[in-house]
C-alpha cells in the first residue's frame, strides 16, 4: 500500500535497521513517504521513519521543523497529503484518530490540552474508561467502577500527583499540568507513546519525575520523545532522528548525532538562539 519514495530518498545511507527488523518483525510504527502541506506550505516532506518495539527514540529539530505536525499525522489528528502510516506492519492511514488510539497510539500535547474543568483524577479516569471501552455506556455510573478510579489514582501516585488528585486541572500550576498530560496518555496503556516536549514548562525540580517515569515504562513500549532539552534527550534516547524543515536530516545513535557536522550546523546553531 505504501508509496515508494525513491525520488525523495534522503541523501544519506539509510540507517541500519536495529535488532527487531533483522529478525523480520515489523516496527511498532512506520511511516513511508509521509507528506503534509498546509496550502502552499509544505510542512512534512517524504518522511520515512521507523520506530522499533521497545524503542527510546528522540525526534529533535529546530522550531517549526514539523515535529508536532508529524505527531499529528501519526495520531490521525491531521490527514497526510501523501504517504502511509503503519502500526505493527498494518496500514492505519485510513483509520480515524479514535481507531488508532484503540490500536495503541497515545500522545501528549506540547501545549497542555486537558479537561481543565475536571479534576486531575477524572482526567485520567476518562482515558482509562475509553481504553476499556466504557465511554459509550449509558447507565452504570462511573462511580461504581472502583477499579477504574483506583487504577487512575495509582497512576497519579506514580507521577507524584496523588495529592492533587481531587483538584481541578485549571487550578494546578502549568508544570504540574504537564505531568497530568503524561498520566492521561499512560492511562491508555499505549504500545506507541509520543511525547511532545513533555518537559517544556516543567520546573527543573520536577523534570526528574518525568525521567523516572520514562525509565520505568514497559520495556516493549515504543517511545518517541520530542524534546529541546539536549541533556534530557541524550539521557533518555537510544536513537535520535533530526528533522529539519519537514524532512529527516539524519538518524543515528546519540553518539553519531553528537558527532554529525550537519546536525551541529543546523541544530546546535539553532540552540544557541533558543
Amino acid at each position: 500500500m505504501g508509496k515508494e519514495s525513491v525520488a525523495y530518498a534522503p541523501p544519506h545511507p539509510a540507517p541500519l535497521p536495529p535488532n527487531g527488523a533483522e529478525r523480520g518483525i515489523p516496527p511498532a510504527l512506520e511511516t513511508r513517504g509521509l507528506d503534509k502541506s498546509f496550502g502552499a506550505l509544505a510542512v512534512t516532506h517524504a518522511v520515512d521513519f521507523r520506530l522499533e518495539r521497545g524503542a527510546r527514540h528522540a525526534l529533535i529539530g529546530p522550531n517549526g521543523a514539523g515535529k508536532t505536525t508529524f505527531v499529528n499525522l501519526v495520531t490521525g489528528a491531521l490527514r497526510p497529503s501523501a504517504g502511509a502510516i503503519f502500526l505493527d506492519g498494518a496500514d492505519i492511514t485510513p483509520l480515524s484518530q479514535d481507531r488508532r488510539v484503540k490500536l495503541g497510539i497515545a500522545r501528549t500535547y506540547q501545549i497542555n490540552t486537558l479537561f481543565r474543568g475536571l479534576s486531575v483524577l477524572e482526567n485520567v479516569c476518562l482515558a482509562i474508561g475509553e481504553r476499556l471501552g466504557l465511554g459509550g455506556r449509558l447507565f452504570r455510573p462511573v462511580g461504581l467502577r472502583r477499579d477504574v478510579i483506583e487504577a487512575a489514582y495509582a497512576l497519579l501516585e506514580r507521577l507524584r500527583l496523588a495529592e492533587d488528585a481531587g483538584r481541578l486541572v485549571r487550578e494546578l500550576p502549568y508544570g504540574r499540568q504537564r505531568l497530568v498530560e503524561i498520566a492521561v496518555a499512560l492511562g491508555l496503556e499505549p504500545k506507541v507513546l509520543l511525547l511532545d516536549e513533555p518537559a517544556a514548562g516543567v520546573p527543573s525540580a520536577e523534570s526528574g519525575i518525568i525521567v523516572d517515569v520514562i525509565e520505568t515504562l514497559p520495556a516493549d513500549l515504543a517511545l518517541l520523545i520530542i524534546e529541546h532539552d539536549m541533556e534530557l534527550v541524550f539521557r533518555l534516547a537510544r536513537r535520535i532522528t533530526v528533522l529539519v524543515q519537514g524532512a529527516i536530516l539524519v538518524e543515528g545513535t546519540p553518539a553519531e548525532i553528537a558527532a554529525d557536522a550537519r546536525v551541529r550546523e543546523v541544530y546546535l546553531g539553532e540552540r544557541t538562539r533558543h
Partner: protein
Amino acid sequence: MSAAATPAAVPEAVRALARRHRFRAYETLPWIAAIGGYFLFPDYLALGAQVFIAILFALATDLILGYGGIITLGQAAFFGAGAYACGLVSAHGWGEPLSLLLIGAAAAALVGFLSGFVVLRATGLTQLMLTLIVAVMLQEAANKANDLTGGANGLQGMEIWPILGLFPFDLYGVAAYLYCLAVLFLGWLVLRTLVHSPFGRSLTGIRESEARMNAIGSPVFRRRLAAYVISAALAGVAGALAAETTQLVALDALSFDRSGGVVIMLIVGGIGRLYGGFIGVPLYMIAQDRFAEIDPVYWYFWIGLFLLLVVLFARGGMIGLGETLWRRLKFIPLRPWGRRG
C-alpha cells in the same frame, strides 16, 4: 512536597468520585415543592403542568447545551416534532397518551438524527445558525402543509384517551398535573443516570476539550450524535406532553421563541447542573409574568435588563451565584492549597 505515602485509607479524591452519583437530600426539594404545590395551589394545576413540561424541555436541552457544549437555538424543532407527531396520530384516531409520548419521542429522535449530521459537523456560530435553520425549516414546512397540520390555525381534532385507560384529562388540570409530574420525574431520572454514566462524562470531556477527547480514543462525533438524538427524544416527549395536555398543536411549538426561551431559562438557572431548569423555568416564567403585568408594552425591556444583570453578575446562573455565595460564606480563604512550582 513529595507525595505523602497514603496508608490503607481510601484517598479523599477517590472516595469523592466514587460517591458523586449518589442521591443528595437537596435533590428531593423540587419534588417536595411540586407535591406541595398540588395541595397549596389547586387553582393553578393547569399552569403547573405547563411548568413541568417546560422543565422537562429544559432538562433535554441541558444534555446537549450544558453537558455536550452544543449551543442550540433550535430545540423547538424537536419539541415541535414531538408535538405534531403526537397531535397528528391522535387526530387520526389513536389517543392512548403513553404510546403517544413514545411516538413523539421517536419522531423527534429522527429529526435529531438527520439534522445532527449537518449541525454537529459545524462549530460555533455556524452550528448555532444551523440549529436555528432546522427549526425554522420545520416551522415553514408545518405552516405550508396546511392540509395536514392546519397551518397557522393549528392542528384540529385531537382526541386524547384517559391515562392508562383510567384517568381522563379534566378541566381542573388534576390529571395533567400529576401526569406531567410523573413524566418529568422519569425524564429527570433518565437524565440524571445519563450524566453520571461514562457516556455523560465523556460528553463533559468533549465540552472541556474536544482535541483531548479525540486523543484518548473517543469517537467524538458519534458521542455527540447520540447525545443529540437523546436530547431530541426527550424534547419530543415534552412536546407530546404539551400536545396531550392542551389538546392543541400550533406553529408556536416550533417557534424561535420556544427555542430561545428554553436556552435563556436554562442559562438563568445554570447550565450543566441538571437543576438549572428547575430554577430557571419558574423564575423566568414568574419574571415574565410580573414584568408583563407591570409594563405590558415594554416588558421585554425589563426581561432584557434582567438577563443582562444575570450575565454580568451571576455567571453560572442562579445556581452558580448560589455556589459562589455559599463558598464565600463557608470558607473565606477560597484556596487552602499552597502554590506550587
